[in-house]
């Protein structure tokens, strides 16, 4: 593993490739949280993310025997997720489905805050940040999530996304700038009214 998100031993992958069910189950368990997060970031909807996660993991289980050890497992898994997300986006466009932004905002900011004691303290800043995050283009959202929230290096994120590290830094720069603009424009009170 080089991309640095999932700690999956190479030996586990080898056993799974050989059809060992226990290893396949463990591999699925380890991959699940990561795939679901990627799916949610790319699709913005809980139900679509759940469906895509299941599809990706089923593909992983059925195709892991053909996975080439020279590629990074996580990068392979990420490409399965991204391709699946692309199909969902296409299907949405054909259906004329609503934009993903409102769905992601609803997903990230449920009516009942996770911790009521901190709701007042965090409420406005949290809502502003989540709204701005949800409005980012998909690629910027992916980079912001991987680097800013999960703490991957630009190099590791680049490897996972299949782009150059300099592109990761550019997307991160744009994401931060866009989020700042959205927050200042639409949530001006979040920083005590500063501009």
């Amino acid at each position: 593993m080089t991309a640095g998100c999932i700690d999956i031993p190479a030996e586990l992958i080898d056993r799974a490739r050989g059809g060992d069910r226990v290893a396949l189950t463990k591999l699925t368990e380890l991959a699940y949280p990561r795939v679901r997060r990627w799916a949610l970031v790319q699709l913005g909807s809980e139900s679509d993310a759940d469906d895509l996660t299941q599809d990706v993991l089923i593909k992983m289980i059925r195709k892991v025997h053909a996975f080439r050890g020279d590629a990074d497992f996580e990068t392979w898994l990420y490409s399965l997720t991204r391709n699946g997300a692309r199909d969902v986006h296409r299907a949405r466009r054909r259906r004329g489905a609503a934009e993903e932004h409102p769905r992601l905002v609803a997903t990230l900011t449920p009516d009942a805050p996770p911790d009521p004691d901190r709701a007042v303290e965090l409420g406005e800043a949290r809502r502003a940040l989540m709204d701005a995050f949800a409005r980012l283009p998909t690629r910027q959202r992916e980079v912001y999530d991987l680097v800013e929230l999960q703490g991957l290096s630009a190099g590791n994120a680049a490897e996972l996304l299949g782009i150059a590290p300099v592109s990761v830094r550019a997307h991160l720069f744009k994401a931060r700038r866009s989020m700042r603009a959205i927050i200042l424009r639409e949530h001006a009170g979040v920083l005590g009214g500063s501009t």
């Binding site: 759940d50 089923i58 940040l129 927050i183 200042l184 920083l191 500063s194």
Partner: protein, 155 residues
């Protein structure tokens, strides 16, 4: 109201800067400005909340998924022919329809209408297709006949 001119910069700052743990000018400022320190703390807390919201997931049974993946037959794909086949077929049909016209050359006989009468230039048909279906409009030798071919669109 904020009075600090650096306040808005916090929204673009690196997490280490917000935590006052880097060597940048902004990080040093956050360490000494109470107003910015409070805003930086709120932004960091909001980022943690966002991280948590993205990490939340329903219950999941990996063993059941492995069982169903290995025991259920793979779902049949809707597309059974490669996506280039309809295009190739359309091109082939268009080619077949055009060949006689080319062979005839400019002096060839008219194929319809009275001899010497000019051919009427008809407007192209207005064609729509249901979602997920593509179409090709193919002219023929006979101006009264236009082939409209509907085929499964790109999945």
């Amino acid at each position: 109201m904020s009075t600090c001119p650096r306040h808005a910069l916090l929204l673009e700052a690196d997490p280490l800067e917000l935590a006052g743990k880097s060597d940048s000018e902004l990080a040093r400022h956050v360490a000494v400005c109470a107003e910015c320190a409070a805003a930086a703390a709120a932004i960091l807390a909001a980022r943690r909340e966002l991280d948590r919201a993205l990490s939340t997931r329903p219950d999941f049974d990996p063993a059941a998924l492995v069982t169903s993946a290995l025991e259920a037959p793979p779902a049949r794909k809707g597309r059974t022919v490669p996506r280039w086949v309809p295009l190739l077929a359309a091109a082939a049909m268009a080619g077949l329809l055009l060949v006689p016209r080319i062979d005839r050359g400019p002096a060839g006989p008219a194929t319809s209408g009275p001899a010497g009468a000019p051919m009427l230039a008809l407007p192209p048909p207005d064609v729509g297709a249901p979602a997920g279906t593509d179409f090709a409009v193919l002219g023929t030798d006979d101006p009264d006949i236009t082939v409209i071919w509907l085929f499964q669109g790109d999945e």
